[in-house]
Symmetry: C2
Amino acid sequence: MARNVDKSSVPAVTVPRLALYLRKLRELKAQGTARISSQHLAELIDLNPAQIRKDFSYFGEFGTRGVGYEVQRLEEEIAKCLGLWRSWSVIILGAGKLGRALVQYRGFAEYQFNVVGVFDNSEHVIGANYGAGRVRSVAELEEFCAQQPVDIAMITVPAAVAEETIDKAVAAGVRAVLNFAPVKVHVPADVVIRQVDLSSELMFLSFYLDRERE
Amino acid sequence: MARNVDKSSVPAVTVPRLALYLRKLRELKAQGTARISSQHLAELIDLNPAQIRKDFSYFGEFGTRGVGYEVQRLEEEIAKCLGLWRSWSVIILGAGKLGRALVQYRGFAEYQFNVVGVFDNSEHVIGANYGAGRVRSVAELEEFCAQQPVDIAMITVPAAVAEETIDKAVAAGVRAVLNFAPVKVHVPADVVIRQVDLSSELMFLSFYLDRERE
């Protein structure tokens, strides 16, 4: 069914909204809601109904005017489009505080993102177990990835070693990176990278707080 | 000096780029670089030079054609614009794994975001110290905020209680929220909220991984 959606037509800015829709549709399904209008959904997630209709148009025309969208069908189509019809293997590179917190973050497994390995360079943490097996040395990364498929690497090492760590993951065959280190890293064109920059999020807030007080 | 920049003219989509520029300019300053062209900066941070020139135009005309921008002056102007001329007090609501990891995340203090308090509802963690004083009960939040200014609340409670927790922070006078709970929460118009949605970031990656394999 996902094959019906031409994913190359879905713009990158739309993808985070798909994740938002998916979460809300799952909630509605769990509550027993069978259909929802773009208007009602827009109120629930604070978006423009026209935007929602445009985004849903990628999934074909199974919304009916005055009746709304079928919640379950739409939820299934979006999940497939996001690649959630299968599970994905995730490794965490950097077993510091943030890395350890992420190992057991429940929100990942809920969508079948499974942490299969944790790696670090420090002898202080190699061998310890924070929830996804013992922490391995980064030197074992290539062998590990050769033995089992790894889809995504989450980078929680210090900024100074983020680039070399990402290079190692890419060399080992990883094709998707979620970088928590506050440094922009170049990757080959066939690798997709997203950055979670927590300080930058705080600066967004301080920008507005400071503006209000002017 | 920051008063010279009309912050209301800076669009929201520009603000995260300002944070990116700031980080790179600080790096360049530390390396002793006095001037940089938009072209060179564009290469360093993988953006379009025209975009950079447009963004910098908010800070007045102190780039000179063929000579480039003054690194230190630009860095200072951007920092001021982002509200970083002062420090900001941050509280963390939710002392679970993620909350504890954030307490000691070094990237925050670097920009003078100071964690001044950690709150939780669970008796198992109230009283424990993960790095910013003992964990307080959420019931103490209002009194705490009355006694010292709190600018920003980071929300690391479970999704099911995120809304009520944010409501409590807002009622206590907090005007900026960084929400890590995977749920969209409505706040009053005078409160600024940003969401860090880790599952959604992973779905962005799985979308592209899945597309490649089609």
